[in-house]
C-alpha cells in the first residue's frame, strides 16, 4: 500500500494516491474540471482538448490537469481569470466545428459539451468564431448505431474503446490539421470495415457523434 498524499483544490483538502493525475483526483472528489479527451487508464494523456486547465501555485502558467501528476501539498485552483479565458476560447473553438442542433441530437441533455457549458456558464452558441462549413457524410451502415462526424469533437474516446477495450482496431485518427478525422482504414463505412459492432465506442462517445439508431430524433 502506498501512502496517500494530501492536495488542496479550491480550498478543499483531499487525499489522493501518489502518481495519480490531477484531473482524476479532482473528479473522484466531486470537483469538476471540464474535459473531453481524458482517459483514466491512458499512461500518457493525449492532452488534446485543452479544456482541463487549472492554476497550480508555483506554476507560472495554467496547466492541463490531465497531464499533471499530483504532488504532496499541491495547491490547485480550478478557476481563475486566465483559466476561464482559455477554457472559454477552447470551448468556443470546439463549438465552431460542432453541429449545434442540440434539439435533434441523440445526446441532448447528456452531452459532455452541455455539461461543460452548464458548469462554467458558457453559451452553446457561436459568437466569436464563425462556424466552419464542412460536409460530412453520415455513416449509418452498422445495424444498431451510426456515426455523424459533424458532431465529433476528436476526443479519441471511441478510438481508445475500440483499440484498448474491444481490441479491434477498426477506427483511428487520420489526416492532419483541420482535416483530422476519426475513420476506418481506407475510409470504408463501418459495416464494411473490420468493426465487430460491439458498440463500446458508442457508449464511449461523449457528444452523440456515435449514437444508437433507436435514440435518433427525427
Amino acid at each position: 500500500m502506498t501512502k496517500e498524499i494530501s492536495i488542496t483544490i479550491d480550498d478543499k483538502t483531499i487525499k489522493v494516491k501518489p502518481g495519480e493525475k490531477l484531473l482524476w483526483a479532482a473528479l473522484d472528489n466531486n470537483i469538476y474540471i471540464p474535459h473531453l479527451c481524458g482517459i483514466r487508464d491512458e499512461g500518457r494523456p493525449s492532452a488534446g482538448c485543452r479544456l482541463c486547465f487549472v492554476e497550480i501555485e508555483g506554476s507560472r502558467h495554467p496547466v492541463t490537469a490531465c497531464s499533471k501528476v499530483v504532488e504532496a501539498g499541491m495547491m490547485v485552483r480550478t478557476r481563475s481569470p486566465r483559466v476561464d479565458r482559455l477554457v472559454k476560447t477552447a470551448f468556443e473553438l470546439i463549438l465552431s466545428d460542432h453541429n449545434l442542433k442540440c434539439g435533434s441530437c441523440p445526446a441532448n441533455r447528456k452531452c459532455a459539451l452541455q455539461k461543460i457549458a452548464a458548469e462554467r456558464g458558457l453559451k452553446l452558441t457561436r459568437k466569436r468564431f464563425k462556424p466552419l462549413q464542412r460536409d460530412f457524410e453520415l455513416d449509418d451502415s452498422p445495424d444498431e448505431f451510426a456515426f455523424d462526424r459533424s458532431r465529433c469533437v476528436l476526443c479519441g474516446q471511441c478510438v481508445w474503446a475500440d483499440r484498448e477495450e474491444a481490441k479491434v482496431g477498426a477506427i483511428g485518427f487520420t489526416r492532419r490539421g483541420i482535416n483530422r478525422v476519426v475513420t476506418t482504414f481506407e475510409d470504408l463505412p463501418l459495416a464494411d470495415s473490420i468493426c465487430t459492432q460491439c458498440k463500446l465506442c458508442v457508449d464511449a462517445c461523449p457528444v452523440g457523434a456515435l449514437y444508437y439508431k433507436k435514440d435518433a430524433k427525427k
Binding site: 488534446g48 502558467h61 473553438l93 466569436r128 466552419l132 483530422r180
Partner: protein, 636 residues
C-alpha cells in the same frame, strides 16, 4: 588501454590525411560550390564546363565539389587554387566565364582579377572575404570549413584538425566532457536556447543505461537552410559532435533525423558515416577505446511538426508525427522509452570546437549569457543573400546593413521576420536589438533556427502574417484544439482583412485568439504560431486598420484592395507593349491613342506594370481600388 591510445591513433590518421591532402594541394584545383543552393543555380553545369575545358586543353587540374561558400547571391561559384597564387573565389559563373578562366588562369597565369570576388588567404595582391564589410562582423566557427573542404573526403576534415576534439575527450572521463559543455554554456541552437549541457546531464539522472542521441535536422522553416548547408558541406563536424555527446552521456546509438527533401544532405552524411566507421572513429571501440557508438540516418517525411521533439520521436517509432504532452521530457523518456538527447544540427556542430579549443575560447565569443555565434540565412529584400555567422550580440542593424549590405536599390527598410513561421516581425525601431536568445524573445521574435527575411515598403504586413499562418495552419497536426481550430480561425480572419473585410472588433478578436493559442496549445508549433500575428499587430497595427477601415493596402499588395490604372499623361500613343502583355485582353487603345484597362477584365497579374517601359512608367497601382473621378468620366 593506455590514456594515450586514442591520441596516438588519431595522430596517425591525421598525419596520413595531411600528407594526402597536401599532395592534392600541389596540383591546381577548381573547387565548385555544389551544395543544394549552388546546384539550383547551375553549379553542376559549371562543373561540366570546367571539366570539358580542362580536358580539351589537356591541362593538369582537378575539379572538386565543395559545399556552401555562403555567398548565395553570387552563385554559382568556384574557388581556383593554383600553386603560386592565393586561392581565389569567382562568382556569377557561366560558360563564357569558365572558358576565360581556364584559358587565362589555368592555362596562362592571369587570375582575371576583374571577375574575382575575393581571395581566401591573405596576400599582397587581392582582398579576401575578411576585407568585405561583412568580413568585419562575420566570425565563422561552425561554417568555417563549409565550402573549403571536400565533403566527400574525411581526410579533408582530418587535415583541418577534425576529430581532434574527440581524440582529446576520449583520453579523459565522460564526466569531464559534460562539465566542459556545461561550463561553456552552449545553448541549443534549435530555437529555444536551452543549455545543451543541462539537457545532457538530465539524461544521466534517469539512471537508465540504454540511451540515444538524436540530431534534429528536420529544418522546415520557409527561407531557412543553415542546417542543410552544414550537413552538406561539413558532415563530419556534426557527426563528431554527436559522438562526443554520446561519450558524455554513455549512449550507444544515435540517429540523424534528416528530412527526405534534403537528398544531398542525406547522401553526404551517409558517405561521411561510412568513412568515419572505416577510420575507426565511429562504431565499435572508437579510436581503440572501449567506447562504442554508431550512427544511422532516419529520413523524415517533411512534416513541419516533426521538428518538435516528441513528434519527431513519435514518427521515428513508426507512429503519426504528433507531439506528446510533457513531462516526461525526452531526456527522461524518449526514443523507445529510453533517455534521449535531441539537439539541433548547429548545437552538435559547436561541440567539437569547444572541446578542441577550450571553454574559455568559446565564451570569449558572443555575450556572457549567449556565448558563441549565431548562424542566419539572410533572405528577402537584402543585397547579400546568403549564409552568415556572426557573434551573438551583433545587432540586427549590423546584420542587415553591414553584413547583408542593406536593401536593394536603397529602399527603406520596413520589417525583418526572424525565426520563420514561429518567429516575429520586427520594425525599424527594434533594429538595435542585439541578436541573442533573450533579447529577441523580449522583442517578440525568437531566434528560431535562424531564418531571417528582410522586407521593404512593397511587403504588406497583413499578407506576411497571413502567409505564415497559412503555413502553420497547413502544418498543424490537428491534435489539439487551439492549434487545429485556432490557426484555422486566425487564418480566416487574416484572409478576411486582406480582402478588406472586418470591423472594429476584428483586430481585438484576432489578438485575443492569438494570445490564447499561444498560451493554450499543446506543443511549440501551436504556441509559437501566433507570433507573426502578435508582432505585426504590435508594430504595424495601423496597416491592419488601413485594410479594415479604409479598404486600403498601403503596400499595394492585397489584390482585392488594389486596381491597376494607366495614367494618361504618362502613357504614349507610340507604345503598345502593355496591350501585348495582358493575358486577358483587358487593355485597349482609346480613341485618343492612349491605353486604358478594362477593370472588369483585369485579373491584376502585374504584367502591364512590369512591361510598361521605364521612360513612361505609366501603369500604377491604386489602393483603395477607386479610379480617379475625372478620368473615369473621360473613359466613358
Amino acid at each position: 588501454m593506455s590514456d594515450q591510445g586514442p591520441q596516438k591513433l588519431y595522430q596517425a590518421l591525421k598525419e596520413k590525411a595531411v600528407s594526402l591532402t597536401g599532395e592534392k594541394k600541389e596540383k591546381t584545383r577548381v573547387m565548385i560550390g555544389t551544395a543544394t543552393c549552388g546546384v539550383a543555380a547551375g553549379a553542376l553545369k559549371i562543373k561540366d564546363y570546367f571539366e570539358n575545358e580542362i580536358k580539351s586543353k589537356g591541362l593538369e587540374a582537378e575539379v572538386v565539389e565543395v559545399g556552401c561558400i555562403g555567398h548565395c547571391y553570387a552563385e554559382p561559384m568556384a574557388v581556383i587554387d593554383k600553386p603560386g597564387f592565393p586561392p581565389i573565389c569567382y562568382g556569377y559563373l557561366d560558360d563564357g566565364l569558365v572558358h576565360r578562366l581556364v584559358e587565362d588562369f589555368l592555362a596562362g597565369d592571369d587570375p582575371s582579377y576583374e571577375y574575382a570576388l575575393a581571395a581566401l588567404e591573405r596576400n599582397d595582391v587581392f582582398p579576401t572575404f575578411e576585407d568585405f564589410p561583412r568580413g568585419v562582423y562575420e566570425h565563422k566557427l561552425i561554417l568555417k570549413n563549409c565550402g573549403y573542404i571536400d565533403f566527400r573526403d574525411i581526410n579533408s576534415y582530418l587535415a583541418e584538425d577534425g576529430y581532434a576534439g574527440l581524440a582529446r575527450a576520449l583520453t579523459g572521463k565522460p564526466g569531464e566532457l559534460l562539465e566542459e559543455i556545461k561550463a561553456a554554456n552552449l545553448r541549443g541552437r534549435g530555437g529555444a536556447g536551452f543549455p545543451a549541457g543541462l539537457k545532457w546531464e538530465a539524461s544521466l539522472k534517469s539512471g537508465v543505461e540504454e540511451k540515444y542521441v538524436i540530431c534534429n535536422a528536420d529544418e522546415g522553416d520557409p527561407g531557412a537552410f543553415m542546417d542543410r548547408s552544414i550537413l552538406e558541406s561539413d558532415p563530419h563536424l556534426v557527426i563528431e559532435g554527436m559522438i562526443l555527446c554520446a561519450y558524455a552521456i554513455g549512449a550507444g546509438k544515435g540517429y540523424l533525423y534528416i528530412r527526405a527533401e534534403y537528398p544531398r544532405a542525406v547522401g553526404h552524411v551517409r558517405e561521411a558515416i561510412d568513412q568515419a566507421r572505416e577510420k575507426g572513429l565511429l562504431g565499435e571501440s572508437i579510436l581503440g577505446t572501449d567506447f562504442s557508438f554508431d550512427l544511422e540516418i532516419f529520413q523524415g517525411s517533411g512534416a513541419f511538426v516533426c521538428g518538435e521533439a516528441t513528434a519527431l520521436v513519435n514518427s521515428m517509432e513508426g507512429n503519426m508525427g504528433l507531439p506528446l504532452s510533457r513531462p516526461p521530457r525526452l531526456a527522461a523518456k524518449g526514443f523507445r522509452g529510453k533517455p534521449t538527447v535531441l539537439n539541433n544540427v548547429k548545437t552538435f556542430a559547436y561541440v567539437p570546437l569547444i572541446v578542441k579549443n577550450g571553454v574559455d575560447w568559446f565564451k570569449e565569443i558572443g555575450t556572457p549569457d549567449n556565448p558563441g555565434t549565431a548562424v542566419f540565412s539572410l533572405v528577402g529584400k537584402i543585397n547579400n543573400t546568403g549564409l552568415v555567422e556572426v557573434p551573438m550580440g551583433t545587432t540586427l542593424r549590423q546584420l542587415i546593413y553591414d553584413v547583408g549590405d542593406g536593401l536593394p536599390k536603397d529602399k527603406p527598410f520596413k520589417a525583418v521576420q526572424i525565426g520563420g513561421p514561429s518567429g516575429g516581425c520586427l520594425p525599424e525601431s527594434e533594429l538595435d536589438v542585439p541578436i541573442d536568445f533573450d533579447s529577441l524573445h523580449e522583442a517578440g521574435a525568437i531566434m528560431g533556427s535562424g531564418g531571417l527575411v528582410v522586407m521593404d515598403e512593397n511587403d504588406c504586413m497583413v499578407s506576411v502574417a497571413r502567409y505564415f499562418l497559412e503555413f502553420t495552419q497547413h502544418e498543424s497536426c490537428g491534435k489539439c484544439t487551439f492549434c487545429r481550430l485556432g490557426t484555422k480561425h486566425m487564418l480566416d480572419i487574416l484572409t478576411g482583412i486582406t480582402e478588406g473585410r472586418g470591423d472594429s472588433n476584428t483586430l481585438d478578436l484576432l489578438e485575443e485568439l492569438a494570445e490564447d493559442v499561444r498560451d493554450g496549445s499543446l506543443c511549440n508549433l501551436g504556441k509559437t504560431a501566433p507570433n507573426p500575428i502578435l508582432t505585426t499587430l504590435k508594430y504595424f497595427r495601423d496597416e491592419y486598420k488601413a485594410h479594415i477601415e479604409e479598404g486600403r493596402c498601403p503596400a499595394l499588395v492585397c489584390r482585392d484592395l488594389i486596381l491597376y490604372y494607366i495614367e494618361p499623361p504618362r502613357c504614349s500613343k507610340l507604345c503598345n507593349v502593355c496591350v501585348g502583355s495582358c493575358p486577358t485582353e483587358a487593355i485597349f487603345t482609346r480613341e485618343d491613342g492612349l491605353k486604358e484597362i478594362d477593370q472588369e477584365k483585369c485579373v491584376k497579374c502585374d504584367n502591364c506594370l512590369k512591361a510598361c517601359p521605364a521612360e513612361y512608367d505609366a501603369v500604377v497601382k491604386l489602393s483603395p481600388p477607386v479610379l480617379p473621378p475625372e478620368k473615369e468620366k473621360k473613359a466613358k
